[in-house]
């Protein structure tokens, strides 16, 4: 869905992105993570066609963003970190303007406004001026504005900043819902635990380069559903990683087994009862289980490993 080829972007005295290349699959929710100043926002702005790179190409759904930015914008929704709203306009008019500006048919606009307002919990605020909304509601309105044309690609730069925990959870569910409607989503955030909930992939940027691009889940929101989750098992004593892996692979509901020292991570698809039966089976196989539970640190773990590897002076750079 998004194809980035050899993208290099310079500010007048600083190189922000260096030969970035990657492909983001249609239907994925990709967490874009990296340290401050790594180039996340610049990458998003290049993808949106807001900034022109020195070299390279970006295509969204086959449309060259740099050559035909206005056409590409039909497929893109972008929420920047420091967004602005038309404070003097009502919520309804803010949404109506964006619907018209993004080419939604006149006849379809009322329904689209109702859909966006409903999805973001703004239905009872349509008559209020945007300037009178709270921080959380402003964030919701900003998101409603960028999804009102139902873009194929949604770029969200720090969408949860300033939101309270409840609003963040709602945002996570909304992202999963949008992804369920077919949107490919790229989310940049510093709150890694939150990204775990809905990301299918993680793209790690450091020093203007992509240092890692991993697949985490097959479906967005698996972490939220409770049906499918990444689990972590820590073992002790005579038990080896190989024996744990062998025991896990005998179970039908286990996928993607990843040994890591005295711990093994794996993806489990099943109910809570089935999860309990798995633990019993492992113990019956002679596995000395020290701890067993949900692995909530996939993105964080990948991030820390990749960034440390990139920062190590002698370490070769990971290929994208």
């Amino acid at each position: 869905m998004i194809s980035i080829d050899n993208l290099t972007f310079d500010y007048p005295t600083k190189r922000a992105l260096t030969e970035v290349s990657c492909t983001i699959a249609a239907g994925s929710v990709t967490a874009l993570v990296g340290p401050n100043g790594a180039g996340k926002t610049t990458l998003m702005r290049c993808l949106a066609g807001l900034d022109q790179p020195v070299t390279g190409a970006v295509a969204v759904d086959g449309v060259d963003v740099l050559a035909k930015p206005r056409l590409a914008h039909r497929h893109i929704g972008y929420l920047r970190d420091l967004f602005g709203l038309y404070d003097e306009l009502s919520v309804r008019r803010c949404l109506a303007f964006h619907a018209a500006a993004f080419g939604v048919d006149r006849a379809e606009r009322p329904a689209r406004i109702a859909w966006a307002a409903e999805a973001l919990g703004l239905t009872d605020r349509l008559g209020e001026k945007a300037g009178r909304l709270s921080r959380g509601l402003r964030q919701r309105l900003a998101i409603a504005q960028v999804v009102i044309h139902k873009p194929k690609v949604l770029l969200l730069d720090e969408p949860a900043s300033g939101l309270d925990p409840e609003a963040r959870m709602e945002l996570s569910r909304f992202i999963v819902n949008l992804n369920g409607e077919g949107m490919t989503i790229l989310v940049s955030s510093h709150i890694l635990a939150e990204l775990e909930d809905y990301s299918t992939d993680v793209l790690i940027v450091s020093g203007g380069r992509i240092v890692d691009h991993q697949h985490l889940h097959d479906r967005a929101g698996e972490g939220l559903s409770g049906r499918s989750a990444w689990l972590a098992l820590r073992f002790v004593g005579e038990t080896t990683a190989a024996s744990v892996e062998a025991s896990l692979r005998r179970q039908d509901q286990v996928r993607d087994v990843l040994p890591d020292g005295d711990m093994v991570r794996f993806r489990f698809v099943g109910t809570a009862e089935e999860r309990a039966r798995l633990l019993a089976a492992l113990v019956a196989d002679g596995i000395a289980v020290a701890s067993f539970g949900e692995a909530r640190d996939l993105v964080q773990d990948a991030y820390l490993k990749s960034v440390r590897r990139a920062a190590a002076p002698a370490a070769p750079e990971a290929s994208p």
Partner: protein, 472 residues
């Protein structure tokens, strides 16, 4: 309906606001009628004999007041709104959202140009223009003056809008000084056209390539064409602001138009300085063309200067694909190219003079004067480019502008009488020197400015490479 225009109407044309503005305008018009008409006649009975028909006098007063209010509403106030149309979006953090929309550059341009000052236009259309027509009538002269006012307003808005857009292109943040500057430029453009509504006095005759032109109609046509070009400039700048690939071909067409207009224009009947020796007509046309090209070049160097990255991209493109690089060439360079053409035109015109003319006998070195003017322009625009190429540019650009002002105006006046002409030639074209003495100083300065620009661009390139090395 254009969504950007609609949004501006929502924001700018609240019923209370429109009602208050219309009421204020009507009160002033009625006041003018009452003061200039029956009320004044009643207070001063003798006035009746002086003014003849008091009702007609009152109507003229209303027309005059309407004309003044049109200037205030459209040129003063409307221009402020146009200047701030894009800059306010940057300040509010909504500009990126607009750039991301599917609104095209033309729709975005006219949506903002007409939408931001919508309240001023509505009051003008509903109250002021009808009042003006009621007072002044619909004779050709009244309509011609009204056309000038409307053109002046559109030109003022377009000029202010263009300046605001140029700041947006340079990623400048919105500040009162920036908005005030754009507003001021718009007002100057607007009032220049507004003032020309009275026409040309005296026995002036105009001709274009030998065809006589009625001065008043020519001025109106010129105002219309100037306004049209300003609107084209807005559209082209908006294309760049919306990241739509934009080649400089329209700019080249504009320069060609300007060259054709100034090269063929002949004005006779202007008051002359006693004892002045006028150069031949062909040379005068070339000089006018050169000045027009230089004015356009300076404007381009200030409004659309490339930053260091732009210069690096251009240099890189020139090395790889020189023909394609033409599309990336900084537009002021094309202005300099046309200016060089005007210089050649002037030198040829002087060379074609047969016999010994009075001008030739005077001590003015016409050919070198043109070349020196061009060299000074090259120096100035390269210095400006070097200032714009550094990251913390604002102070340096102002510094260069102050230097240019000092070198042309203050220093020659201050030291002109005490230094020899060869020294003065470093500041202004010293018209009586020989060619070498007149051309070498500004050419050397232009060379220094070029070296400065190259070093600035190379320095920033080294900074980028050093930054990349630190990270990896």
């Amino acid at each position: 309906m254009n969504p950007e225009f609609t949004r501006n109407l929502w924001l700018e044309t609240g019923p209370f606001r429109l009602f208050a503005l219309a009421a204020a305008a009507l009160a002033l018009l009625v006041g003018a009628y009452l003061v200039a008409g029956p009320a004044l006649i009643g207070v001063l009975p003798g006035l009746n004999q002086l003014v003849g028909d008091p009702a007609a006098f009152a109507r003229v007063a209303v027309a005059g007041m309407a004309e003044g209010l049109l200037a205030v509403f459209l040129i003063l106030w409307g221009t402020r709104s146009a200047a701030d149309a894009v800059l306010s979006e940057i300040g509010a953090g909504t500009w990126d959202g607009q750039r991301l929309s599917m609104i095209g550059p033309w729709a975005m341009s006219w949506g903002k140009l007409l939408g931001a000052p919508a309240a001023a236009w509505i009051i003008a259309l509903v109250v002021l223009i009808p009042a003006y027509l009621w007072g002044a009538g619909t004779e050709a002269e009244a309509l011609r003056r009204l056309a000038f006012i409307v053109l002046a307003a559109i030109a003022a808005h377009a000029a202010a809008f263009a300046i605001g857009l140029s700041f947006a292109l340079r990623r400048e943040t919105r500040s009162r000084a920036v908005v005030a500057f754009a507003h001021l430029v718009g007002i100057l453009v607007g009032f220049a056209l507004f003032a020309s509504r009275d026409g040309i006095d005296g026995p002036v005759a105009l001709s274009l390539y030998g065809h006589a032109l009625p001065p008043d109609r020519f001025m109106l046509a010129l105002a219309a064409v100037a306004t049209l070009w300003l609107l084209v400039a807005d559209y082209r700048l908006m294309r760049q602001a919306l990241a739509v690939p934009t080649a400089p071909w329209v700019w080249i067409v504009f320069l060609a138009f300007l060259a054709a207009l100034t090269g063929g224009l002949d004005v006779t009947g202007l008051p002359q300085v006693v004892g002045a020796v006028l150069p031949p007509k062909g040379y005068l046309a070339a000089l006018l063309m050169l000045l027009a090209m230089l004015a356009a070049t300076y404007a381009a160097a200030v409004v659309l200067p490339p930053d260091a990255l732009g210069w690096r991209r251009w240099a890189s493109a020139m090395r790889r694909r020189p023909l394609r690089a033409l599309a990336r060439t900084p537009i002021f360079l094309y202005g300099l190219l046309f200016a060089a053409g005007a210089v050649v035109f002037g030198i040829v015109a002087l060379g074609q003079q047969s016999g010994v003319s009075v001008w030739r006998l005077s001590s003015i070195n016409g050919e070198a004067f043109l070349v020196a003017l061009l060299c000074f322009a090259i120096r100035d625009t390269l210095l400006l480019s070097a200032a714009f190429a550094v990251p913390d540019k604002r102070g340096r650009v102002i510094g260069v502008l102050v230097f240019i002002g000092l070198s042309y105006l203050v220093l020659p006046l201050a030291i002109g009488r005490v230094v020899p002409g060869e020294v003065l030639a470093f500041l202004v074209p010293a018209v009586t020197l020989d060619s070498v003495a007149m051309i070498v100083p500004p050419a050397a300065e232009a060379l220094v400015a070029l070296i400065l620009l190259i070093s600035v661009v190379r320095h920033t390139a080294r900074s980028v490479r050093a930054g990349g090395a630190r990270r990896s």
